[in-house]
């Protein structure tokens, strides 16, 4: 592959990567905003209490719990779903990068991308937090 050709390829990848990141942020933040409005309408008068960290009171502390909560249309569940999408935006970026390095036949960086994904998958194992 000629050097010029490779640069053009890289440029394309960078434009798509940039668009992917921006779209992820805009979509997830819109969901957070919608959830936030619903949450405020229903809970505006409730008294907040964040003085002491009480992990046992957290309602949406797993992906399964967030999806279950989403079915109830509660504002806080929608917010948490938006946050979950935001968290997965950079992860989607890694998946995309792996495919683009595969097309470029840069297998070293395909491997590096897979290593990062593995590390993140390990952190998905909730057991780490307990």
């Amino acid at each position: 592959m000629s050097a010029v050709n490779k640069n053009i390829n890289d440029k394309d990848i960078q434009v798509i990567l940039g668009t992917l990141l921006r779209a992820g942020v805009i979509i997830s933040m819109t969901i957070v905003l919608i959830g936030g409005v619903i949450f405020l309408i229903h809970n505006k008068g409730v008294i907040t209490d964040y003085k002491v960290f009480k992990p046992e009171l957290a309602k949406f502390s797993s992906i399964a719990a967030i999806f279950k909560g989403l079915l109830t249309f509660h504002g806080d569940a929608i917010v948490q779903f938006g946050i979950l999408m935001l968290i997965f935006t950079p992860v989607a970026r890694i998946v995309f990068a792996i495919f683009s390095f595969l097309i470029e036949k840069d297998y070293l960086y395909v491997l590096i991308g897979l290593i990062i994904l593995t590390i993140i998958t390990i952190s998905l194992n909730g057991g780490l937090a307990h």
Binding site: Q14, V25, A58, I87
Partner: protein
């Protein structure tokens, strides 16, 4: 305090944090955490969870622009992400077991360090000496466009830079911040990257690094929608406005004023942490 009032106060504070964080280059996380803990009495675990979410939002948003311009070195970014994500997860796990007072003290120290770093004059360490065998193996050397011409650069001291990134990632996971100051040290001073490349690449890495620790925080129950919602909306809006203003404003004086304010906040956090032990 009612949920509505709390949301409005946090929204305004987060907007200000995002604005100042982007104007000074310090990042929104380092300001929103003292604000939540000192002014509103929020437990630092919740503050960290909310802050890390805002770090993902701002870094992904601005990375989009930099990546398109072709300044970000995606290979360096991904290579170092191995170190930052491992560090971030370790940091986030340690944070779970660490007493809130110790976290506050460490946070204060890092805050002072970051404030000093924003004031220090940057020295250009770039080199064209492309003999580093790690840099060659991982294809890290590159070039970036500036005013129509391509600038070549070579990368040095890859293992040392990698170790520093492991440390930066750990602090990021422990404290819920982007730890940009440490990442820039690793890339500018150790690996000898040009400023433009190091700042944009560090920003590019922040999203994945923060995502790794955010997942641990989520499972631990540290991400509360009631706090995270106003924090991420506020910080992202502030940072977006800040990046627009940044092109026109002179930030030298602002940086000094800001460094003093941040140092003051840092001392308060350290004091609060020590007196709570």
């Amino acid at each position: 305090m009612s949920v509505l009032l709390f949301t409005i106060i946090v929204l305004l504070g987060a907007f200000l944090a995002g604005l100042l964080g982007s104007l000074t280059g310090l990042g929104g996380g380092v300001i929103i955490i003292p604000l939540l803990t000192l002014a509103l009495g929020v437990d630092i675990h919740y503050a960290i969870g909310a802050s890390i979410v805002s770090v993902i939002a701002t870094s992904s948003g601005s990375a989009a622009a930099y990546v398109k311009e072709g300044i970000t070195n995606i290979r360096i970014g991904m290579f170092l992400e191995i170190a930052t994500t491992v560090g971030a997860i370790c940091g986030a796990i340690v944070a779970v077991y660490l007493n809130a007072n110790y976290i506050a003290i460490i946070f204060g120290c890092i805050l002072i360090f970051s404030a000093i770093m924003t004031l220090k004059k940057k020295v250009d360490h770039t080199t064209l000496d492309d003999t580093d065998k790690w840099a060659k193996f991982f294809k890290l050397n590159g070039s970036y466009p500036d005013k129509g011409t391509d600038h070549q650069y070579a990368v040095k001291h890859v293992p040392a830079g990698f170790l520093m990134m492991l440390f930066a990632g750990t602090l990021s996971g422990l404290l819920g911040i982007g730890s940009g100051a440490l990442k820039v040290i690793a890339m500018d001073n150790i690996m000898r990257l040009p400023f433009k490349v190091s700042t944009t690449t560090s920003n590019f890495m922040m999203g994945v690094t923060a995502a790794a620790s955010a997942i641990v925080y989520l499972h631990r129950g540290q991400i509360d929608p009631g706090i995270a919602m106003p924090v991420c909306i506020g910080v992202l809006t502030g940072a977006t406005v800040g990046s627009k203003v940044l092109l026109k404003a002179k930030t030298d004086k602002l940086k000094i004023v800001f460094a003093i304010v941040v140092t003051f906040l840092a001392i308060q956090m350290i004091y609060k942490g020590i007196s709570g032990l």
